[in-house]
Every structure is written in C-alpha cells, then in structure tokens.
C-alpha cells in the first residue's frame, strides 16, 4: 500500500511538471471551460424562463446537478481521459509490454500514470456553482459532507466504465469513437433525471447509469434521496469495480503485443 502511494506521488509530480511546460494552455483551457459554463447555464435557463421547472427541481437544485456534472467533467479531464488515451497508444505501439513487466498492478499503472491539471478550472467552476446553489437553498456543511459519499461512488462508477472501455482497445485498438459515444451519453447528466420522459429515465438508470453520477449526489445533498438510492449507488460502484478488474485480466489474455 505504502509503495503504491509513493509511486502515485512520483507519477503525479512528474506528470504535472511535464504539463506545466505549457502554461499558456492553462489560460486557454480556463477560457474554454468558462465558455462551456456560460453555455450550460444559458441552456438550463431556457427551460426555466417560462415558469416551467423540472419535476420537483427548483432552479437552484438544478444548478446543483449542473455543478456536480461540471466537477465530474473536470475529474475525467484530469485523470480518466489522459490515461485512457495512453492505454490506446500503448496497445497500438506494443509498449504495454513494459507496463506488464513492472512489479505493480498494471491496472493501477494504467489508470494513474498521468494527471493533467487542465481539468482544474472545471472542478473549480463546478464547486462554485454548487456553492451558489447550496447557499440559496440554505444548505449547510453537513449536507455537502453527506454528498461526498455518493459523489465518490459516482466517480468510481465513471472510472470503472471508462476503464472497461479502455480495456476493449486490446481487441479493437482504436476506440476513440466508442469513448465519444459514452461521452455523448454522459451529457445527459447535466440535467436531473426527473426531467426526462420515462423511456429515457429507464435507459439512463439501468443501461447507462447517468442517474447515479449526478442526480443521486444532488438528491443526497438536498436530503431527499432516500437510503435505497444510496445503497443502489454503492452496489453499482462496487460491482463495477470488480467487473472492471476481472474484465481487464480477461482482456489481457488476448493481448499479443505488437510488432514483436
């Protein structure tokens, strides 16, 4: 365990040092996420302009969902996407061999090798949005604290889905389009799940578990989630973690290296 922490520190300090060579990039990505934020707020406001509201979700509550979505988006830009791109490259070039030879878990290596600070603006803007919505709703620190658990579970779910997709690159090598499909579907998490028609709700709860990523944490924050959703969220996250790990080992059996 201690060894893993030490390795993680080394991974991330080198990754950040490498990324900080491109400081102007930070400004650019910050501008882009600010623009994205303005756009999302505009999109949400179109619904609330005519006295309409998503069933049971006030404007401030919907802001919480959007904020949580933005935080998760930042998280995936920081950890998930850069590492996933790396897996694809390694399979394509056959350098996965070197990772497999190292005396630590290959899943750990592949999922944590890189951290990219460029997702930070999204995380910050998302937290600001949650803070604003929460203040208007009179939420206290306890409420935010309670939401950390489902949000972490959501992040774990998200990670497991991404990692499983990444593992499929062993067979299909280039999988950018598949990740784009997942990314497109996850966009649904910008809005509370109650805003969708029934067929969509079923799809986004049971097929692509978007509901557990943003709606459940927001509900917990608002104190209206109920234990069952939390339990389901925990169950989903733990099942997916195990499945992701098994799936990776299964996929490795088919890895034949490239050009050697």
């Amino acid at each position: 365990m201690e060894r893993y922490l030490k390795v993680l520190r080394l991974f991330w300090s080198t990754a950040i040092a490498a990324e900080l060579e491109y400081r102007l990039n930070f400004l650019v990505t910050a501008l882009i996420s600010l623009g994205g934020l303005a756009g999302s707020l505009f999109g949400l406001s179109l619904f609330y302009r005519n006295d309409y509201e998503f069933e049971g979700w006030s404007w401030e509550a919907a802001l919480l969902v959007l904020g949580l979505f933005t935080v998760l988006q930042g998280f995936s830009a920081m950890v998930l996407i850069p590492n996933l791109n790396k897996i694809v490259n390694q399979v394509q070039q056959g350098t996965l061999d070197f990772v497999l030879l190292k005396p630590i878990s290959s899943q750990f290596w592949l999922s944590t090798r890189i951290i990219s600070p460029w997702g930070l603006p999204d995380v910050i803007f998302g937290l600001v949005m949650i803070g604003y919505g929460g203040r208007r709703l009179g939420l206290g620190w306890v409420d935010y604290g309670l939401a950390i658990l489902p949000l972490t579970l959501g992040a774990i779910t998200l990670y497991s889905l991404w990692f499983m997709l990444g593992a499929t690159s062993i067979w299909f090598v280039k999988i950018y389009n598949v990740t784009e499909v997942l990314r497109g579907l996850l966009e649904a998490g910008r809005f509370p799940i109650a805003a969708y028609p029934v067929a969509y709700r079923v799809f986004f709860t049971f097929v692509v578990p978007v509901a557990f990523l943003t709606t459940v944490p927001a509900q917990t924050m608002l104190g209206q989630g109920g234990r069952w959703w939390l339990l389901a969220s925990a169950l989903l996250a733990s099942v997916l973690v195990v499945v992701a790990n098994r799936f990776w080992r299964f996929a490795l059996r088919f890895y034949t290296s490239a050009s050697s």
Binding site: N25, I32, G39, F42, G43, L46, E180, G184, A195, P197
Partner: protein, 262 residues
C-alpha cells in the same frame, strides 16, 4: 472544367472506399451525435404542460431534423490538418497540382454517403418511440432544406479550415475550434429551437453564422420555413467572408511553413 469534374469524381470514389472500409467505426461516430436526441427528451417532457409555444410533436420533429442536419455537417478537418502541418506531411501534397483543401473536402463529402444509412436507421428507431410525430417535408421545403444543408456543410467546413490554417503559426490550432464549437453548440439551435430563446438573444444570434448551420436547415425540413431568402443570403455572405480570409491566411501561412520533419 472537364478535368475538375474527373478529379472530383475520382477523389469521391477513392475516399468513399476508404470510409466504407471502417463501417463499424462509422456506426459509433453516428451514435456519438446523440446530443440533440437527449435534448429532445427534455423538451418533449417540458412541452407536455403547454407552457411553451411549441407542441411535443413539433419538438420531436425539430430535434430529429437537427440530428440529421448535424450528421450531414460534421467536420473534423482541423484535427487532420493540424497533424499534417505539425508532422510535416503537408509537404508532398503541396507538390500536387490540386489544392490540398479539396482532398479534405471530398473525404468529408464521401463520408456523408457512407454514414447516411445508419443515420436514417436511428431516426427510424426514434420514430418508433414517437410514432405520432412521423412527417414528410413538402417537396419544395425538402429541396430548399437539402440545399441549405449543403451550404451549411460548406460554411462549417470553410470556417474550420480557416481556423486550421492557424496551425502554421501555433501547435494548438484546435483550441480555436474548441472555443468556436462551444458557441456553435449553444447558439446554433442544437439545444433548443431559436423561437424558445429570449427575444434579445435571438436578435443578436441571427447576426452570427451559427443559426444558419443547424436551425435554418432544420426548420426548412420540418415545414416551418422562416425568412428563407434572408437565411440563404446570410449563408452566402458568411461563406464569402471566410473564403476570402481563408485564401489570405493560406498564402501567408505557406510563406511561414517550413515543412517540419521533412
């Protein structure tokens, strides 16, 4: 003239063959454009209470049309061009007697034909979900709509290719496109029909090129044309503007280009 015709025919068939080779990949690219369909769900649910001046049926039709228009106007030239410049692969193309822009243009056009069947399949699937919304565009609207889609594709291609030329000066030309894409996503009518925008915002947005890329062709397709002549004028004007800017940048850029790695 005859030579141009022949070159374009050959390029089309070559690139079509390339595209069909990766059919499975194409399915995924079609599926990755589901954003308008997600918003369709939201708006249909929202319109049940009659608070908006559009009925659920109108909204289903609108967003299906948006989905189709979007499928026909997807452009990715900046990512390819950026790589070509950074890796120096542009050099051999410069020696050929055809401007490299056409190569990209025809690869995009032929991809449209390859993706067509999948896109219609998905629309059919959603019509099963909302059978009451099935509709046919009137013939004149259909023809005008197809023309508008073709123009929208050309305009979007021109804009992105113009930004791509920034790759001669910087290695991150795609950041420009990322920013532009945000404006495109939120102002083109992809998230909601323009008639649901606040009036002041709509007036401003109509002066930008964005609504003509999606909202305008989509509203033709659903038989709700608005200011048709003005729409076409705007598209032609913006295209001319970007064309001129593009050619100027191209000439300046070539002076700058040193053929990295070649």
């Amino acid at each position: 003239m005859q030579k141009a015709f022949k070159v374009s025919r050959i390029m089309l068939s070559v690139y079509y063959a390339y595209m069909v080779e990766y059919r499975a990949e194409l399915v995924f690219w079609v599926l990755s454009g589901t954003f308008p369909l997600i918003l369709m769900g939201l708006w249909v649910e929202a319109a049940q209470g009659d608070q908006f001046n559009l009925s659920p049926t109108d909204l289903v039709r609108y967003f299906l049309a948006v989905f189709l228009v979007r499928q026909f106007t997807v452009v990715w030239v900046i990512w390819e061009f950026e790589r070509e410049v950074v890796e120096g692969r542009l050099s051999p193309y410069l020696l050929q007697p055809v401007d490299p822009a056409w190569r990209h243009f025809f690869s995009h056009v032929s991809e449209r034909f390859a993706r067509l069947p999948f896109a219609f399949l998905l629309v059919g699937l959603f019509l099963l979900l909302y059978p009451y919304a099935a509709w046919w565009p009137r013939l004149d609207n259909l023809l005008l709509g197809l023309l508008a889609i073709a123009l929208a594709f050309c305009l979007r291609f021109l804009m992105q290719y113009t930004f791509a030329l920034a790759a001669f000066w910087t290695e991150r030309a795609s950041a420009l496109e990322q920013f532009w894409f945000l404006l495109y996503t939120f102002l083109s009518g992809m998230i909601a029909p323009l008639s649901l925008f606040p009036d002041a915002v709509r007036e401003v947005v109509l002066w930008t090129p964005f609504p003509y890329l999606i909202y305008f062709p989509a509203s033709l397709l659903i038989n709700r044309p608005e200011h048709v002549a003005r729409g076409f004028m705007a598209m032609i004007l913006w295209s001319a503007l970007f064309w001129a800017f593009n050619r100027w940048l191209w000439r300046q850029g070539l002076k700058q280009y040193s053929g990295m790695g070649a």
